[in-house]
């Protein structure tokens, strides 16, 4: 078995991909956004609520592949309960890190490091980025609406 492939589909990726955390449409949510990858038909919906200056109940639904679902699972874990001020920076850093394959565990959780493997599979970058891009759009929409 090819090493790179094994690195991509390692345990963390498979676990989060096949049994994603924070998966499902919550009964109550205030903000939601849909992301779509026209290339492969993958779809992601992101939900959260705002409580004072924190984002809570971060969750998602996806008909995407393992990479997309694992990324969504890891992302919602990462962003849940984050301060509104920091969340956009976190998303930005994560997207750059996924792109360059250099996410660091002094900033992010250990599990998120599994997304560093995507760089070697350029055709799958979009799958990993889709939840993050969608979350970013949702946060920007929320900020714009608040103005």
């Amino acid at each position: 078995m090819n090493m790179e492939l094994q690195n991509l589909y390692q345990k963390t990726m498979i676990q989060h991909g096949n049994n994603p955390l924070n998966f499902g449409k919550p009964q109550e949510y205030e903000h939601t956004e849909e992301g779509f990858n026209a290339l492969c038909g993958d779809k992601v919906n992101i939900y959260f609520r705002r409580m004072e200056n924190k984002l809570i109940n971060f969750s998602f639904v996806s008909v995407g592949c393992i990479v997309c679902k694992a990324s969504g699972s890891l992302m919602t874990e990462e962003l849940n309960n984050k301060h509104l001020e920091n969340v956009a920076t976190s998303i930005d850093n994560a997207m750059i890190g996924i792109h360059n394959g250099n996410l660091k565990n002094d900033f992010f959780s250990n599990d998120l490091m599994t997304l560093n493997q995507i760089k070697k599979f350029p055709s799958r970058l979009k799958c990993a980025l889709l939840p993050w891009e969608t979350a970013m759009r949702l946060i920007n929409n929320m900020k714009n609406n608040a103005r």
Binding site: N2, E4, L5, I14, C40, G64, C65, V67, S123
Partner: protein, 411 residues
């Protein structure tokens, strides 16, 4: 290799005609199972394009100098080859376009002025986006309505339902000859006859049929037939619209400029005759020549032998795939082409595609530009193997082994 492969044609020799096949991807020999997306090019086609640019290139239909005459002769000889290949009545019925999409857009755009708000256009559930969107746009421009003929779970058109949809208001029936996702070959000859009883014109999207069966446009009696050169072992950037001469004469041109005119003053322009009326601007001369060469190549190895080989590999693959417990075929038409779509329980097609690629296997995963069809089956996409005559049963064995690995890895 199983013995059924013998006595057809010498596949090892045939494969040598396609230089691209001789390479490794990720350390494994390339297995090219994405022929429905685009076919590979025989050396004869590549050489013809090179030779044209090295020896004969100039603009066509323009000059009195030798190169222009040579380029024009080669370009027009290709048109003749296409006309003969699909048994058109005359070369005037062969319009060179950029491809199937361009051909369908040509008809949909050119019809604009002749469509009324009360008119209807009928397509089917299994159409490629390029045989949906141009008609949607035509309806948007004219106020006409788009009707969609349904399919059954096997991926076959429900002919009775189609017949019910066709009426005196139907102006155009546009449907695919062979589905690029399901592999279904539609009984278009019967459908065309049915539509003609109601005076409905029929456009056939032949993108997936060309090169995989004999096409005789006169026997089919279709009004328009569209296909792409790159799916017929020819270059990209060239395609064909066949249209019955009287219909093409009635149609308005859809692009305007050089080549398509006879006489221009600032007050008035007279359009050129067929087929030039629809070929505004300098065409893709080299690609047209390449397409002619591709047809010559197919004829030299014999299309029937090619189809036979494709059927052997398709049958073998269907049998092998059916043995895998967690695989579901999408499309089970009786009359099918060398395209097989399937899903694997609980595993997204995209992940499979990556694992196959790591073993050198090029297969398409996703919606295959048929999103409404994916909605019908309530799936995000499929994994698709599409074969050509240069594919073998041992390649299918590799695919099956890779699928098994993928299931173990991802399940």
């Amino acid at each position: 290799m199983p013995s059924s492969n013998k006595n057809i044609f010498n596949i090892d020799e045939i494969r040598k005609d396609f230089p691209i096949l001789d390479q490794e991807i990720n350390g494994a020999p390339l297995i090219y199972f994405d022929n429905a997306a685009s076919t590979q090019k025989p050396k004869a086609v590549i050489d013809a394009i090179k030779s044209y640019y090295e020896n004969d290139h100039s603009n066509v239909h323009r000059g009195v100098h030798s190169l222009s005459i040579r380029a024009t002769d080669l370009y027009e000889a290709s048109r003749k080859k296409v006309a003969d290949y699909i048994n058109a009545n005359s070369t005037d019925e062969i319009i060179f376009t950029k491809g199937t999409t361009d051909s369908i857009n040509l008809v949909a755009s050119s019809l604009t002025k002749s469509i009324q708000p009360s008119d209807e256009i009928v397509i089917t559930t299994m159409e490629h986006h390029s045989n949906i969107v141009p008609w949607q746009e035509l309806c948007r421009r004219t106020g006409a309505s788009l009707k969609v003929a349904p399919i059954d779970d096997n991926g076959e058109l429900i002919i009775d339902e189609l017949e019910r949809l066709l009426c005196k208001d139907t102006k155009i029936l546009a449907l695919t000859h062979t589905s690029n996702t399901l592999g279904t070959i539609n009984p278009i000859k019967e459908i065309i006859t049915m539509a003609h009883h109601l005076n409905i014109k029929v456009l056939i999207d032949g993108a997936q049929a060309i090169g995989h069966q004999n096409i005789d446009v006169q026997d089919l009696d279709c009004d328009f037939y569209a296909f792409s050169g790159h799916k017929l072992y020819g270059p990209t950037g060239i395609g064909v619209l066949y249209g019955k001469e009287d219909l093409l004469n009635e149609l308005e041109p859809y692009q305007f400029g050089g080549e398509m005119i006879l006489k221009v003053t600032f007050d008035e322009t007279t359009y050129n005759s067929l087929p030039y009326k629809f070929e505004a601007g300098t065409p893709n001369i080299a690609a047209a020549i390449g397409l002619g060469k591709a047809i010559e190549y197919i004829e030299s190895i014999n299309l029937n032998a090619c189809v036979k080989q494709e059927n052997v590999v398709t049958e073998y693959s269907l049998k092998k795939l059916k043995d895998l417990s967690n695989i579901k075929l999408i499309g089970n038409s009786e009359n099918r082409s060398s395209i097989i779509s399937f899903t694997i329980e609980n595993i997204h097609p995209h992940d499979i595609g990556t694992i196959l690629n790591q073993r050198g296997i090029a297969m398409r995963t996703g919606h295959h530009c048929t999103m409404p069809l994916m909605d019908f089956y309530e799936i995000p996409g499929t994994i698709r193997a599409s074969f050509s005559f240069y594919n073998t049963e041992s390649e299918v064995d590799e695919m099956v082994a890779a699928l098994q690995t993928a299931c173990e890895m991802l399940g």
